[in-house]
């Protein structure tokens, strides 16, 4: 897991920390609890010397300062990040764009709850109305996929016509660049695994037999509620209905918490 610099938005891995304990291998200041990670200062810190600094070190120090002294003078945006809500392009012109959002994790959308996932309210500045629509359409696409996988034909009233592709992101531990895979062309885990092997250049016989702890890599996926789960714990059909993204995790870094 990447170092959470004060400048960077936390990645979606934040949410999953508690579950699979990815660990903070690259973090040279030790591991954070979730609370520590997500509280960050975004403001450049004005020095008396006139320059500005905005660094992870500052934010970490600042957080611990708060914990110790509950200082009232900390700038107001240093608070537990509410869940971030994503939105679409807003401007004064007619045809606003709809951002194609890839499977952004969402919590229950309560009224007044501005965010889901991690991040800052309203940042990046893209209109929030898109996310709701995108979420609805993803669910619909997945519904259709389930029906196709099931063998029944979707009624055109329910699902529109024709199958859709279902691309999800795949990342693999140790490889900096993620890929995308179309789940719609697969009908089982072995089939999916074969493609993933080919994609990431893993030899067939090597790291994976699908069992927990047995191979070097485990296939995990993030479901529609944002939780990271082991892919083999459920049926293919349920998997297709809820998968948002995939991650090939090194088994050695898993501590089996779940």
């Amino acid at each position: 897991m990447e170092l959470q610099l004060g400048l960077a938005l936390p990645t979606s891995n934040n949410k999953s920390n508690n579950r699979l304990n990815f660990g903070n291998d690259n973090n040279d200041v030790g591991s954070y609890t979730n609370d520590e990670v997500i509280v960050q200062s975004w403001l450049p810190v004005a020095n008396n010397g006139g320059g500005t600094e905005c660094s992870a070190v500052n934010s970490r120090k600042r957080r611990r300062f708060i914990e110790s002294f509950e200082d009232d003078h900390i700038p107001i945006n240093l608070k537990t990040l509410p869940l971030l809500q994503l939105a679409g392009g807003s401007d004064d012109n007619d045809d606003n764009c709809s951002v194609v959002l890839n499977k952004i994790e969402t919590e229950d959308e309560e009224e007044g709850d501005d965010n889901d996932g991690e991040g800052i309210v309203g940042w990046p500045p893209i209109s929030f109305r898109r996310k709701k629509k995108k979420k609805m359409w993803n669910h619909r696409d997945q519904l259709m996929m389930m029906m196709i996988v099931d063998g029944s034909s979707p009624s055109s009233e329910e699902c529109g016509e024709g199958p859709t592709s279902m691309y999800v992101k795949v990342t693999m531990d140790g490889i900096g660049i993620g890929r995308k895979v179309d789940l719609a062309v697969h009908d089982s885990f072995p089939s999916l695994r074969r493609q993933l092997f080919a994609m990431f250049g893993l030899p067939e016989e090597n790291p994976w037999d699908g069992g927990a702890g047995a191979g070097e890599y485990q296939l995990t996926y993030q479901d529609s509620e944002g939780d990271w789960l082991l892919a083999d714990d459920i049926s293919w059909r349920s998997f297709m209905g809820s998968v948002q993204r995939l991650r090939l995790m090194r088994s050695s870094s898993s501590s089996g918490s779940s």
Binding site: P75, N77, L101, I104, G122, P124, P125, I126, F128, R129
Partner: protein, 583 residues
């Protein structure tokens, strides 16, 4: 009923003066609100004539004036444009019940403008009750446009379809709408045929394709059709065959797998559309399907590909078919290579917007960098509008861009990590925006991002003399930053600031400026209630509103919204919105 402004009758002594009627006829030819404002200041006669001849009124902030005042000033309005909530409501920074309800306006319009024909609303609250009221009380009503509004459902649309006999325009964009199904479309009567503009692209649920096809085939004047994702490619093909006169098309879902025959039919249908200048929609378009639109692209001036995550090659294949392209919107999935293709193929390009396909994904490959924007600027010297979301930028790249394209009017750069410096030099991005404001004399709108010190604002204050709108987030070092802007930017009308270290001194430095501005927004800055009170005391014709957040310090002013008004303090503010008085 005696209405001001009074009308003068002609007397013999006035033989050398223009009769009002003639003056009104002449002034009726004026369209621009700015021209009309200028005209109305010449003398009383001209003020009066202009008021009588005005048919369209644009109200940029619905709380800056009351409907009664508007009706008194302009007695013969046929068309109203109203904007409500502050722009940051798009990013969830404004509570849902904030206000901007259109109903009180409709009540006044029903008695003062019974012949109202057009209503265009942006960021207003609109209920089904209001839509029904509108449909029932304005017999000449023709055009309804709702952009980023909320509070209504498809039930409201059904009322409009049912009762507005002369409807020519129904334009529903990007709203927070409760979608209860597509039956509203069936509410247009069977003999209804006047529609010229139909846009329901952002509604979620299915409409009946047969109903839509019948509607389109009998509306021979239909010029703009933007459908939602539920419309299949087969249906789209039939719609195009039936309406080849379209000038603007929003296609629906574009991911369906087509047989070769279907593809040929679709391509043929697009080929019939000789007048298409705007193409949008194209959700989740596959490369194969995209090729079907090529025959319709020869006159295309605006192409919106921001609903589909195209790869660079797909864009590179499409662009050569669009030689007249002036405006292009894409997702950053096209990458720098895609933008190079833009630079190579679009010599007439004036506007480009690049949106993030996946804003929260830091592992994103193929996202755009500073190279992409430079490539576009090299190939498109006429570029004057840019909106660019990216994850890295350099000062040098921005300087190159504005050197290539010095005519920018709108420069909106969003480096998505707040406070991120130039990634090659690790310096702040001050010089980037410095080069923008120094070079682009015509700059009207600027959005800044990245690591910025007060120096950026010093540059802005010194050079951005035509700038009207400025958006700032996570920037600046001290009050000085905002002061530079307030003191230097003489044409500033809208200023929106979030998460910056600007406090009361900064707020009050603009004291004399706010009455010449539409509004100021400051959230998560260092402004306190006391500062707001001072502002309210010194400037009684401003509304100074504070939105408090739960659990925040009593003296902090979390979100401040300041705007000029002749209507006094709001009477419909919810409890979370305080109008600060000088007490």
């Amino acid at each position: 009923m005696d209405r001001s402004p009074k009308r003068r009758s002609i007397s013999p002594d006035d033989a050398t003066r223009f009769p009002d009627e003639v003056l009104e006829r002449v002034l009726a030819l004026l369209d621009s609100p700015k021209d009309r404002s200028a005209v109305s200041l010449v003398c009383k006669d001209w003020y009066s004539a202009e008021s009588w001849s005005r048919r369209h009124v644009f109200i940029g902030n619905c709380y800056s004036v009351s409907p009664e005042i508007v009706a008194r000033r302009f007695p013969r309005i046929r068309s109203v444009t109203l904007k409500g909530k502050p722009r940051f409501s798009d990013f969830n920074l404004v509570p849902d019940n904030w206000g901007a309800d259109v109903h009180s306006w409709l009540l006044v319009f029903a008695s003062e403008y019974p012949f109202l024909e057009e209503l265009r609303l942006k960021r207003m609250r609109v209920t089904d009750e209001s839509l029904e009221f509108l449909a029932l009380n304005f017999p000449n009503f023709r055009a309804l446009s709702l952009l980023s509004c909320d509070g209504f459902s498809t039930g409201g649309l059904a009322s409009v379809a049912t009762h507005c006999k002369n409807l020519t325009e129904l334009d529903i964009q990007e709203n927070g709408i409760d979608d209860f199904g597509g039956e509203w479309l069936s509410c247009f009567p069977d003999n209804f045929n006047t529609l010229e503009v139909l846009n329901f692209s952002h509604l979620n649920t299915d409409v009946n394709p047969d109903v839509l096809e019948r509607l389109v085939s009998r509306c021979r004047s239909l010029k703009v059709l933007k459908v939602n994702r539920s419309i299949s490619l087969d249906c789209l093909q039939r719609l195009l065959v039936s309406a080849p006169q379209l000038t603007e098309l929003g296609a629906g879902s574009f991911s369906q797998e087509l047989t070769p025959r279907q593809h040929a039919d679709l391509e043929h249908a697009f080929g019939l559309c000789k007048n298409l200048s705007v193409l949008t929609g194209l959700w989740e378009a596959t490369a194969m399907n995209l090729s079907a639109v090529y025959p319709a692209c020869s006159r295309l001036s605006f192409l919106n590909l921001s609903y589909t995550a195209l790869q660079s090659q797909e864009l590179a294949s499409l662009l050569p078919h669009c030689p007249c392209l002036r405006r292009l919107w894409v997702l950053d999935s096209v990458g720098d290579k895609g933008l190079e293709a833009v630079g190579a193929n679009c010599p007439s390009l004036e506007e480009i917007r690049v949106f993030p396909a996946d804003p929260f994904d830091e592992d994103m490959i193929n996202a755009v960098t500073e190279s992409g924007i430079v490539a576009v600027s090299q190939g498109c010297p006429k570029l004057h509008y840019i909106l660019y979301f990216c994850r890295q930028m350099t000062n040098a790249a921005v300087a190159t861009v504005v050197r290539n394209c010095p005519d920018f009017t709108h420069f909106r750069l969003c480096i998505m990590n707040p406070g991120q410096p130039d990634h090659t030099t690790n310096q702040p991005m001050d010089e980037a925006f410095g080069s923008v404001v120094k070079t682009c004399k015509k700059l009207q709108r600027l959005s800044v991002s990245g690591l910025l010190t007060d120096l950026t604002f010093k540059y802005i204050g010194k050079y951005a003399k035509n700038m009207e709108t400025l958006s700032v987030a996570f920037a600046g070092s001290s009050d000085l930053g905002m002061q530079y802007v307030m003191e230097g930017c003489s044409k500033l009308r809208k200023l929106e600031i979030r998460d910056c270290p600007f406090g009361n001194a900064a707020l009050l430095s603009g004291l004399e400026k706010y009455e010449s501005m539409r509004s100021l927004w400051m959230s998560a800055c260092n402004v306190t209630m006391n500062g707001c009170r001072v502002l309210a005391r010194e400037m009684p014709r401003l509304n100074v509103e504070v939105m408090k957040e739960e659990g925040s310090d009593d003296c902090k002013a979390d979100k401040v919204y300041v705007y000029r008004t002749v209507a006094g303090p709001r009477r419909d503010a919810p409890p979370s919105v305080l109008t600060v008085s000088s007490l």
